[in-house]
């Protein structure tokens, strides 16, 4: 079955630290890839997306993600986190010619000043 794995369930960082959140998926065909973020008390928001082209995509608030096809990965990165980045981050995959989104289990990020 198609699945999305986020290996980091809970990440705690100090401000200015670098961030990398892992995301791996199991689907051999063409995929569209997404990272969503849910800030405390807010709804799920799109952080960035990959459809095709340059495998390094940039999103809002200084986030970027790299699609590595050979590793079935789409890791999220930010060189220097801020306290306001405290949130839950979800990786999602849209496999093949479907409209479905398959979500990972989410990573809770806490950033301390």
């Amino acid at each position: 079955a198609q699945s999305v794995s986020q290996h980091n369930h809970h990440v705690i960082l100090s401000e200015a630290a670098s961030l990398e959140l892992g995301c791996n998926y199991s689907y051999g065909g063409t995929v569209n890839l997404f990272w969503y973020v849910q800030y405390p008390g807010q709804h799920l928001q799109l952080l960035l997306k990959y459809f095709s082209g340059d495998p390094l995509v940039k999103g809002i608030k200084g986030f970027e993600a790299e699609f590595i096809k050979s590793k079935f990965s789409f890791n999220l990165r930010k060189p220097s986190v801020q306290w306001s980045d405290t949130a839950e981050y979800f990786c999602a995959v849209n496999p093949g010619n479907t409209d479905k989104l398959i979500f990972g289990t989410g990573t809770r990020l806490q950033v301390f000043p």
Binding site: N32, H43, L44, L46, F90, A92, N94, D99, L101, F103
Partner: protein
């Protein structure tokens, strides 16, 4: 992106009752989706709701338990029927926006349901 409004934002219900959740979009969209996010878990797709056709349910979800209506291109409802405590979850509505060949889903704020 589309503005999505969900009602109610939260509710506490007694077991055996039903709750209907509304999802209103400020623009016409073809595809709408309903997800469930159980405590401590990720989002799971319940069904896809297209206007003018029956909803398509994912494995593990049935129409009798989660009937869905999609009367027009801006509105949908999800009913959680004959509720039990296991139905306590956040229920989210999403819509798909198509920009060229790129389909992106945007989400409502969700309905937090607690079943006693």
């Amino acid at each position: 992106s589309a503005v999505i409004s969900q009602k109610p934002s939260r509710d506490i219900c007694q077991r055996g009752t039903s709750l209907t959740i509304q999802c209103q979009v400020d623009s016409q969209v073809t595809m709408m989706f309903w997800y469930r996010q159980q405590p401590g878990q990720s989002l799971t797709l319940i069904a896809t709701a297209n206007q003018g056709s029956e909803a398509t349910y994912e494995s593990g979800f049935v129409i009798d338990k989660f009937p869905i209506s999609r009367p027009n291109l801006t509105f949908s409802t999800l009913t959680v029927s004959n509720m039990s405590p296991e139905d306590s979850s956040i229920y989210l509505c999403s819509v798909e926006e198509v920009r060229g060949a790129k389909n992106i889903q945007y989400f409502g704020a969700g309905t937090r349901l607690s079943v006693l």
